[in-house]
Amino acid sequence: MSVNQYTPDRTESKYTKSASTFRQNVQRDLANEELRSNFAGAMDYLMDKRKASFPSNDELETLRDQCKLIKQRALVKLPHLLEQLETKLNENGIKVHWAETINDANEIIAQLIESKGGKNIVKGKSMVSEETALNDFLQARDMEILESDMGEYIVQLANEHPSHIIMPAIHQNKKQVADIFAEHIDDFEYTTDVDTLIGEGRRILRDKFSKADVGITGVNFAVAETGTLCLVENEGNGQMSSAVPDMHIAITGIEKVVEYLDDIPPLLSLLTRSATGQAITTYFNMISKPRQPGEKDGPEEVHLVLLDNGRSQAFADEELRQTLQCIRCGACMNHCPVYTRVGGHAYGTVYPGPIGKIISPHQLGLESTKDLPTASSLCGACGEVCPVKIPIPNILLRLRKESVKDTKGGEGELKGAGSNRKATEAAIWKAWSLLHRVPAMYKVSMWFATRFRGLMPSKLGAWTSVRTAPKLAPKTLHERVKARRK
C-alpha cells in the first residue's frame, strides 16, 4: 500500500487561504449544504461533550478564574519567562531558536533539517506550522513532509487547509474521507466505517515513522521553571514524531510559556475538557531532554523554535494582550453561531472562528482582515465558554474601533489601523451622533419620520432580502407619553 503523490503547491488548494475574500468565501460555503450539515452536527456534538465534562458550574468557574490568572501572570512576566525558558532548555540540552517572522521560522527549520541531511519528515499536529505554511516551504526544497495526525493527514491528502484548530478535517464527513482515501491510497478497500478508515490511515503512517529523519511537533505549554515542553494529543503521533526520528523540532508561539510546572495540571484539565470534553487526553508528553547516554531511544537533538509573527503587537497593548492568554482549545469556534454556519475555511485565515478574528489582525494587519471583526453579532457565546476568559466580544469592538479610526498610521498604531475608515461612513456616524445628542432635533426628525412613514421604502436593501421592513409607528413614544400626561 502506498500513498500517491500529492501536489505540494497549495496555491492550487480547493480552499484558497485569503481573508480578503471573506465575503465570497462565506457565500460559497453557506450555499454548501453538505458542509453546513457537517459543521452543525460536529459543533452540536462538541458542545454537548464540553457541557457533560463540567458537571459543576462552580468548579468550572473557579478553574477558569485560576487559569486566566495563570496565563495573565505568565504574560506580565513574558520577556523574563522567555529568557528563563531558554536558559533552562539550554541546560537540558534543548536548543532554542527565535523567529520574528514566519519566514525566519521556516528558514531555521529548513536549515536544521539540512544540517542532518534529512529528507523524510513527519509532523505531529501544529497550528503554528500552519501559520508559517511550513509544509509548502519544505516541499519547495524537495523535502517530503507527512502529517501524522489523522485529521491533518486527511487534509493534506485532499490538498486543503485545516478548518478547525483541534479537528482539522471536521468539515469532511466519513463518506468524504472514504472518497479521499479511495482517490489517494492504492489498494484501499472502500469503506465508510470510521474505525476501519482510521486503521487504514494509521497503517500508512506507522510505516513512515520508521523511515523519518526528523519529527516536527507543536507545543501546548512550555514550562519556564523546568524547561519542559508539554504536548497534548490523542493519537500517539505526537509521541512518535518527537521520539522516533533522530531530530525533534518543536515549534510554538512565544505566548505558550508558563511559569511553573504546577501551572500545568489546571491548564491541562481545562484544555481537554473545553476542547473535546475529555477528562484527559490519551497521551500527554512532557519533553525535557534529548536522548541521554545509555538511553535506548529518543532523538539525539531537540530544538525549539519560538515564533513571534505579530504576537508582540498584541502584547504591547494591555487590552489586546489578553488575546495571548489563548490555549487553543477551540471551544470558542464550537460555540460560535457564525463559525457553525460558515465553517472554518470561509475565514481564509489559519485560525478560524472567534480566536481567529482577534489574533489574525496582528498577524496579517487590519486591512486584509477587515471583514473579520465585523462578522460577529457580538452574541458573547465565545467569551462565555473561553477557558481563560478572554473577553472576545470586547476585543472585537476594540479592533472595529482601530480599523475605522482616523489615523496617519504612526508609531505605536496597530498594523492597518484606520485602513477601513470610509469618509461617508464616518460622516454618517458623525451626523447620527449629532442628531442623538440634540433632543430637540431628534424629536423633530422622529416626528417627521413617523408622520411621513408612508414614504418609507418597503425594501431596505439587505434587511428585506429575508425579512419584512419594520413599520414606523404613527406616533413616537415621546409623543404618546406627553399625550398621556395631559
Binding site: V26, L30, T62, D65, P337, V338, R341, V342, D371, T374, A375, S376, S377, L378, C379, G380, A381, G383, E384, N394, L397, R400, K401, E402, S403, V404, K405, A426, W429, W432, S433, L435, H436, R437, P439, Y442, K443, M446, A449, T450, G461, A462, W463, T464, S465, V466, R467, T468, A469, P470, K471, L472, A473, T476, L477, H478, R480, V481, K482, R484
Partner: protein
C-alpha cells in the same frame, strides 16, 4: 477569585425613570406605554425624560466610540435624580450598565449612574419582588432572550421567573434557546447572508415549539425574528414582555374574559 456576579438590589422605590430606547420610540411605542402602565399599577411613579434619545450602542458597536460617547453623555444628563433607571431592552441595558463603564471611564460619577440601570424584568423580579396574578386563558409561549440580555444582564433567568409566575401559561423551552438570532445591529446589514442563515434557524426552532406566541424583552432581536416570520408568512410573532405581562394581569382585557 471568582468575580462577583451578585448584585445588591435596592428596596422598592417610589419613583423610577424609564429609558424607552430609540427602537421602541419610533417603531414599537406600545411596549413603552405598557411598561409605564404596568409599573404604575405597582404604585410606582414613572418619569420619562423627554430629552432621552438612544444609548449610543449602534455607533459604539460600529467602532465609532467618540460619536457614541457624546450621545451617552447626553443621556446621563437626562437622568439626574438618584432613582432607578428601568430600561425596556436587555441590550441597551447592557450597554448602559456595563459598556458605559469603559466608554466613559474618565467620568467621575459613571459607576453611580451604571449602578442605577435595571433591565425591566430584572427590576420586576429583584427590586419589586413582584407577584403576578394571571388573569389570562391557558396557553403556551416560548421566550427569546437577547444575547446581551442573557450574558450581560442575566435576563433569561428573570424573564423565565416571571413567565413561571403566570399560572395558566406554560413555557416551552427549545434546546437552541441560547443561540443568537443573528441580529447584532449593523451586523445584520453588513453581513446579511450570515445573519439570514442565523435567523432562518432561529425561526425554524421557534416554529418547532408549536407555540402561537413568543415573548422577548428586546426589540432588536424581535424586529429581526418577527420580520423574518412575517416574510415567511408564518402565524407566529413575538411580543414585548411588558405588553404581555400587562395583558395577562389585566382583568379588563377582553381576551382574559370568560376565564
Amino acid at each position: 477569585m471568582t468575580e462577583l456576579n451578585v448584585r445588591f438590589y435596592p428596596s422598592q422605590p417610589k419613583q423610577v425613570y424609564l429609558f424607552g430606547t430609540c427602537l421602541a420610540d419610533v417603531l414599537f411605542p406600545d411596549s413603552g406605554i405598557d411598561a409605564i402602565e404596568f409599573l404604575e399599577r405597582q404604585g410606582i411613579e414613572v418619569i420619562y425624560p423627554d430629552g432621552q434619545t438612544c444609548c449610543g450602542q449602534p455607533a459604539y458597536n460600529s467602532g465609532y466610540q467618540d460619536e457614541a460617547k457624546q450621545v451617552a453623555l447626553k443621556q446621563i444628563e437626562q437622568f439626574p435624580l438618584d432613582i432607578p433607571i428601568v430600561v425596556i431592552s436587555g441590550s441597551c441595558g447592557g450597554m448602559m450598565r456595563h459598556h458605559y463603564l469603559s466608554l466613559l471611564k474618565e467620568e467621575p460619577q459613571i459607576q453611580g449612574f451604571c449602578d442605577r440601570i435595571f433591565e425591566f424584568t430584572e427590576f420586576l423580579v429583584h427590586v419589586l419582588k413582584i407577584e403576578l396574578k394571571d388573569q389570562g386563558p391557558k396557553e403556551q409561549v416560548a421566550l427569546h432572550t437577547s444575547c446581551a440580555a442573557r450574558r450581560e444582564m442575566g435576563v433569561h433567568l428573570t424573564g423565565r421567573k416571571l413567565i413561571e409566575q403566570l399560572d395558566n401559561v406554560e413555557l416551552i423551552v427549545h434546546n437552541k434557546e441560547s443561540e443568537c438570532c443573528g441580529f447584532g445591529g449593523t451586523f445584520a446589514v453588513k453581513h446579511d447572508d450570515i445573519s439570514a442563515a442565523m435567523v432562518a434557524d432561529k425561526t425554524a426552532n421557534l416554529l418547532d415549539t408549536g407555540v402561537k406566541q413568543f415573548i422577548s424583552a428586546d426589540w432588536g432581536c424581535m424586529m429581526n425574528i418577527n420580520g423574518s416570520l412575517e416574510y415567511q408568512n408564518k402565524p407566529l410573532a413575538g411580543k414585548h414582555i411588558a405588553s404581555y405581562l400587562l395583558e395577562r394581569t389585566s382583568e379588563s382585557n377582553p381576551s382574559n374574559k370568560g376565564n
